[in-house]
């Protein structure tokens, strides 16, 4: 009953949807028709981006309303959300995950580290940016990027 009262008092938490983001749409995303299953791979991130991704799928930003949903297996996924510079230990698992995603697929590199290794460029354990390991379709800059930026990137993928 307590929960029921809270549900009634709080009502809708989600912010109103911003206008549809500008920018080119990756060609492989055109066949998704408003539905994108997302598999997140942490390739060596400091977990800053993970917190923001958690925010993007939380009630306030509510990425699910645009048809994006986190899934448990790359076989179910259309989108790989990769964070962090790719460490040596994660390079091969990232390639395997990429191979495990059925065509058509989209890779989104989230955060500065994923784009160009950011702070950790040239560090001993880093194998390279995400684009050095797997082909990247979209990039979300920021250290860490705002949830709104992540949601905007996902909206370009789902087209909603």
């Amino acid at each position: 009953m307590d929960l029921l009262r809270k549900i009634r008092e709080i009502g809708r938490v989600a912010e109103p949807a911003p206008p549809h983001p500008e920018g080119e749409v990756p060609p492989s995303a055109r066949e998704l028709h408003g539905s994108a299953q997302v598999r997140h791979v942490d390739a060596g991130s400091c977990n800053g981006c993970e917190i923001e991704i958690g925010g993007a799928f939380g009630p306030v930003y509510d990425a699910e309303r645009y048809g994006a949903r986190l899934v448990a297996s790359p076989r179910h996924a259309d989108v790989l959300l990769v964070t962090g510079p790719v460490t040596r230990n994660m390079a091969e698992p990232l390639r395997r995950t990429h191979r495990a995603v059925p065509e058509p697929k989209v890779v989104v590199a989230v955060g500065d580290c994923a784009m160009n290794c950011g702070l950790l460029a040239g560090a001993y354990g880093v194998a390279g940016a995400v684009a050095d390991i797997v082909p990247v379709d979209l990039e979300v800059p920021g250290c860490p990027p705002e949830p709104a930026a992540i949601v905007a990137a996902l909206r370009r993928v789902t087209g909603r």
């Binding site: 297996s73 076989r75 698992p93 990232l94 395997r96 191979r99 495990a100 059925p102 065509e103």
Partner: protein, 684 residues
């Protein structure tokens, strides 16, 4: 034209020829000759039984064949059903055995006994006098014992299994002997017609004693809990075609004996007979299948599943007794027909499953499910055959087991009208037991098929497996065909089953011809549907199967038409980004059954043992941890082991009495004589 007599004569002749061939033929030809003769015995049994099911009757009395009692034989529809089932299983096992024996038990003795065992399986239902029946029964038990210990030189466990089987089967025989001899003595005659005529004149106490002893004696053959202790040992250790014969044919004869005694000879009884049988059946079904669900030995799993299925048959028999006591003949006939149909179905799928399991054992040398796996690409036909059998065993449509369980449930569901609070409590419990055993059977056979045959091999032996020779596949294929036929058109058996139930003495069970073209048996409705004649309810197994096939085809075509993506491709298994998963990462039978084992912790009482060995320098540094886990048969553990210990202690105590002193023995004789004389003086 009565076909029964020539068929039984042919069976006897072929059995003799087969035994002779087993003794004298050269080793290279032996399995084939014996197999062909044994298959002939089976075919003759099938013909005789089929004729009896079709309505023919036959009886013969051969007074000179045996001293004192003579031999009385008769075949009616009830015995015909069991003769036919035995015959069918024998054909399957014999054809299968040709290939199986080449590299297995091809010895002279085993091959000579096999046709004899087959012959007794065909003939036991034909016994129509106490002496004849018991003689055939004991012949069957003894010949099966010889076959169980066929491989005793290879494995020590076979010898232990043989001892257990010998003792248990003879304890059962003692029960039967007391029951039937007591019955015959009170009835004043030992032929079945004499017993039948005199049964009404017996006192309730005698009838009750006969029933309980017969239930115990026949129940021990039909794997009834708690008399099942021999089965998880004997079935797995016997050669596989012998396991098939024992499980799919011999165990049925326990049910036959019970039906013959309780319904035909005793003419039904008070309500507590039925309640007792239903309760024992429910316990047997659930206990058997719980053990099967946690078993990791493939043949042990099948053995316990036999226990489960015979438990279901026992529920049907008990329900029939119960309804008969309440005066509800139609319902009693339905319950009995359901039990009989389940006997047929179980025989079909269990012969198939033991055959397929035998192929696996032969190809890999192991029965341990935890070491199997990956057999599908290596033994595709065997895998497909096992899948057909498993579909029958899990009692889901379109399998054959579903139909008999559906009938059984229908009879129980409609049985609440039968009066009595005990009935009202027992029937829901029986239904719950059937449902639970069906659910657990699904888990057990998903485990057997999924862990045993699918995925990747868990041991080098499984990786080296190869397909079996054609005769083995043909034997198992025959029973697969029987399973499919029973699953799709069970209606062809409706009249025969009705006749069998009528032959058991249930009034209003047989086809009277008065109630429409389909006959007046408890089930009818032509070949395509099963319809309950007295109750509202029908089942169309063929249509359900056809609808499923059509739906699968439609969905497949629709998806093909709608799919727009790239062509199907192969990819390595997803192992969370790690490399290809190894066989050690697969779920095993033990891990598959672990949740069930935890749920049924109180019933199974598993034993686990953790042994930690620290290094010598420090108690905190561990050198080795050994973990052992075992699920023992609890009934054996709690009931038989104390009993055996008690017997052993009594034996040791008795040894003190017999110390070899002649004086003492003379003293015993003198004391006994005086005691007897004193007793005579006091009582006279």
């Amino acid at each position: 034209m009565n076909a029964i007599a020539p068929a039984l004569a042919a069976a006897s002749g072929l059995a003799a020829a087969g035994s002779a061939a087993g003794l004298v033929s050269p080793e290279r030809l032996r399995p084939a000759l014996v197999g062909v003769c044994t298959a002939g015995v089976g075919a003759a049994g099938l013909a005789a039984g089929g004729a009896a099911l079709g309505g023919q009757r036959w009886s013969a009395s051969l007074p000179d064949l045996l001293p004192l009692a003579g031999v009385h034989l008769a075949l009616d529809a009830l015995s015909g059903l069991f003769t036919a089932v035995s015959g069918g299983v024998i054909v399957v096992a014999a054809v299968y055995g040709i290939g199986y024996s080449r590299q297995g038990p091809a010895g002279r003795g085993v091959q000579a006994v096999l046709p004899l065992f087959a012959w007794t399986l065909v003939m036991v239902p034909a016994g129509a006098a106490v002496s004849t029946f018991l003689l055939l029964w004991e012949l069957m038990a003894a010949s099966s014992l010889l076959l169980v210990v066929a491989e005793h030189r290879k494995r020590a466990a076979v010898r232990e299994a043989g001892v257990w089987y010998a003792v248990m089967t003879h304890l059962g025989l003692v029960c039967l002997l007391i029951a039937l001899v007591l019955f015959a003595a009170r009835a004043g005659g030992e032929t079945f017609p004499a017993l039948r005529a005199a049964s009404d004149t017996l006192s309730p106490a005698v009838r009750g004693t006969v029933f309980v002893l017969a239930l115990a004696g026949f129940g021990s053959k039909a794997d009834m809990v708690p008399l099942h202790a021999w089965l998880p040992r004997a079935y797995p250790e016997a050669p596989s075609h012998v396991s098939a014969l024992m499980s799919a044919a011999m165990a049925n004869l326990g049910a036959y004996g019970l039906i013959r005694t309780a319904f035909d000879l005793l003419g039904g009884g008070p309500r507590w007979w039925g309640l007792l049988a239903v309760a024992l059946g429910a316990v047997t079904a659930v206990y058997g299948i719980v053990q099967a669900a946690v078993a990791t030995d493939l043949k042990c799993l099948l053995a316990y599943s036999t226990s489960e299925n015979l438990g279901l048959v026992l529920i049907g028999i008990g329900a029939a007794l119960l309804f008969d006591a309440g005066g509800n003949c139609a319902l009693a006939a339905l319950a009995l027909v359901a039990a009989l149909l389940h006997v047929v179905n179980h025989a079909a799928f269990k012969a198939l499953l033991f055959g397929a399991a035998g192929s696996v054992v032969r190809a890999t040398g192991t029965r341990d499910l935890d070491a199997l796996g990956g057999l599908r690409p290596r033994m595709p036909v065997t895998t497909a055959l096992f899948a057909v059998g498993a579909l029958g065993a899990i009692a889901l449509p379109p399998g054959n087991g579903f139909i008999s369980e559906w009938l059984l449930l229908q009879s129980l569901i409609h049985g609440l009208a039968a009066p009595g609070v005990a009935t009202a409590v027992m029937l829901p419990v029986a239904i719950a037991a059937i449902a639970l055993s069906a659910g657990l059977a699904a888990a057990a056979f998903v485990k057997a098929l999924g862990v045993g045959f699918f995925a990747r091999p868990r041991s080098a032996a499984a990786a080296r497996a190869h397909e079996s020779p054609p005769t083995m596949l043909a034997g198992a294929g025959l029973s697969a065909a029987a399973c499919v036929a029973l699953a799709l058109v069970p209606g062809v058996l409706a009249d025969g089953l009705g006749r069998a139930a009528a032959a058991a003495g249930l009034r209003g069970a047989g086809p009277t011809g008065g109630a429409g073209a389909a006959g007046g048996g408890p089930i009818g409705g032509g070949e395509l549907r099963l319809r309950l004649t007295e109750l509202s309810g029908r089942l169309a197994p063929l249509w359900i199967a056809a609808a499923l096939v059509a739906a699968v085809a439609a969905v497949l075509l629709l998806v093909r038409a709608l799919a727009r993506g790239p062509r199907r491709t192969g990819a390595p298994l997803w192992a969370c980004g790690a490399g290809a998963p190894t066989a050690r990462m697969e779920y095993t039978a033990t891990s598959f059954a672990e949740p069930l084992q935890r749920v049924f912790d109180d019933v199974l009482a598993p034993e686990q043992d953790v042994d930690v060995t620290p290094v010598r320098e420090s108690a905190y540094l561990v050198e080795r941890v050994r973990y052992q886990h075992r699920v023992p048969d609890r009934i054996e553990h709690r009931l038989y082991q104390p009993l055996l210990r008690l017997l052993a202690r009594a034996g040791r105590a008795g040894r003190r009495l017999a110390d070899g002193s002649v004086h003492r023995y003379l003293g015993y004789g003198f004391t006994t004589l005086v005691a007897v004389l004193l007793a005579l003086v006091v009582t006279r």
